[in-house]
């Protein structure tokens, strides 16, 4: 069974809960219980009719593969803006992005070419546009990396949510199957989605540039989306079908909260980055150079390029 058979599993859970509940009723009723079996069946059917609906919204989770085309476009953006960077794990494939040599060479080339022109706008162009060019290029690169990181993380969130909802279904079936066995009937694993962002941050070419952006450290922590009971664990337990199904429902609710939590962490990072680009725009893009306002009649004046010496 897998995510693709989620609704089949949901129906199995419902049917198993009903069967188990009817068996429990019959056992409790003793020898006369058989006569009431149809009523027990009706009650149990009603009790667990909602189970498939709990899983139904998860059938339409976004497809992780749908992100790949967008990520390919962002890879191209990142490659052009790259100042050259290395991921945290050099053993991994694609653990570095080479620098764009054409843009990397531009500041030195232009500075040398225009060094002997001392008009006001020429000097301002060199000091305000050319000298910080590589710094701005790197900042632009980091914004592109953050956009890429957010998509990678969202892809990972949905991939792991698929795993988690499938785990919940599996563990519920196991718990229903083993209610009558000796010992604690408790099945527990971690929510994979709770570490989705951490896994992307640890992967090659995703995390290393982000840690250099101080705003992101605070941005990745977010409060208010999780309650005190929302531990990053799937825990299915109980000795009756009602209790097992109830713990399953709690796990599903907790899963949705974890998904919201992880998404809001991404929102914080994106919002903080956007706010920084707005507040300190000159770190990302230069103001229009005054040189641009020159005309053929004025360009040789001291206001623009001036004397050559």
């Amino acid at each position: 069974m897998s995510y693709d058979q989620l609704m089949t599993e949901a129906e199995q859970i419902r049917a198993k809960a009903v069967t188990t509940q009817v068996e429990d009723f019959l056992q409790a009723a003793g020898r006369g219980g058989a006569l009431a079996a149809p009523e027990y069946q009706r009650l149990a059917e009603r009790e667990f009719a909602h189970v498939p609906a709990l899983f139904a919204p998860f059938v339409d989770l976004p497809r992780p593969a749908a992100y790949d085309g967008f990520l390919a476009h962002l890879d191209e953006v990142v490659g052009i803006l790259s100042p050259g960077t290395v991921g945290p794990d050099l053993r991994a494939q694609n653990s570095f992005v080479t620098a764009n040599l054409l843009l990397d060479a531009l500041p030195l080339d232009v500075t040398q070419a225009l060094a002997d022109w001392h008009g006001k706008a020429a000097e301002a162009f060199l000091t305000e546009f050319i000298a910080p060019f590589r710094g701005r290029l790197k900042n632009q690169f980091m914004v592109a990396m953050i956009l890429r990181f957010a998509l990678l993380a969202l892809k990972e969130i949905w991939d792991r949510t698929r795993q988690d909802i499938d785990t919940i279904a599996h563990q519920t079936l196991t718990a229903l199957d083993q209610m009558d066995d000796c010992g604690d009937n408790e099945w527990e694993t971690s929510f994979a989605v709770a570490s989705a962002i951490a896994s992307v941050l640890a992967s090659p070419l995703s995390g290393m540039e982000l840690i250099t952006v101080t705003a992101l450290g605070a941005g990745l922590s977010v409060v208010g989306t999780l309650g005190p009971d929302d531990k990053p664990e799937v825990k299915i337990q109980g000795e009756t079908p009602q209790v097992v199904i109830s713990s399953m429902q709690d796990a599903i609710t907790s899963l949705t909260r974890w998904v919201d939590h992880e998404q809001h962490r991404l929102v914080n990072v994106l919002t903080a980055t956007h706010a920084d680009v707005i507040a300190r725009r000159d770190r990302y893009v230069a103001a229009r150079p005054a040189l641009v306002d020159a005309t053929p009649a004025t360009v040789t004046s001291d206001v623009f390029l001036g004397d050559n010496e």
């Binding site: 191209e76 080339d109 232009v110 991404l266 641009v292 040789t300 390029l305």
Partner: protein
């Protein structure tokens, strides 16, 4: 003032930066911008989610991601424009200086003949993000 040969060499360097170096860089920004612009199509569909999350058909990441994407696109478009326009001015300037000094003009032409000249670099028009009308727009 330097002699005409030295001035011609400096004008050639100015011309080279204006004619080739800055437009080539502008093209790089244009290509990056077009790749970023390719993420406009289908963005809203990419961020659709079941309403059991957050009660919304769109991921909360959607508006934040799109806002930053649009801002980066503006940054790339403005940088491209600055590079391209400055390149244009430097070509105009090299021509203007050459017109004021016949010997320097000759030196500039000789440098072009010797070191090379370039056809105009075609820089596509910069792309800006569309005006937004709503979450799915």
């Amino acid at each position: 003032m330097p002699d005409a040969t030295a001035l011609g060499a400096d004008l050639y360097e100015m011309y080279r930066v204006g004619r080739k170096v800055l437009p080539d860089a502008a093209v790089q920004y244009s290509v990056a911008n077009r790749a970023l612009d390719a993420t406009q199509d289908g963005t809203s569909a990419l961020f659709l989610q079941p309403t059991c999350f957050n009660g919304d058909i769109y991921s909360p990441v959607f508006p934040a991601w799109r806002e930053l994407r649009d801002e980066l696109q503006r940054v790339l478009a403005e940088t491209q424009t600055n590079l391209e326009l400055t390149g244009d001015v430097l070509c105009v300037a090299a021509d203007a200086y050459a017109r004021t000094d016949e010997a320097a003009a000759r030196a500039l032409q000789e440098a072009k003949n010797l070191k090379g000249d370039w056809p105009p670099v075609h820089v596509p028009a910069p792309i800006y993000p569309p005006a937004r009308t709503g979450q799915g727009g």
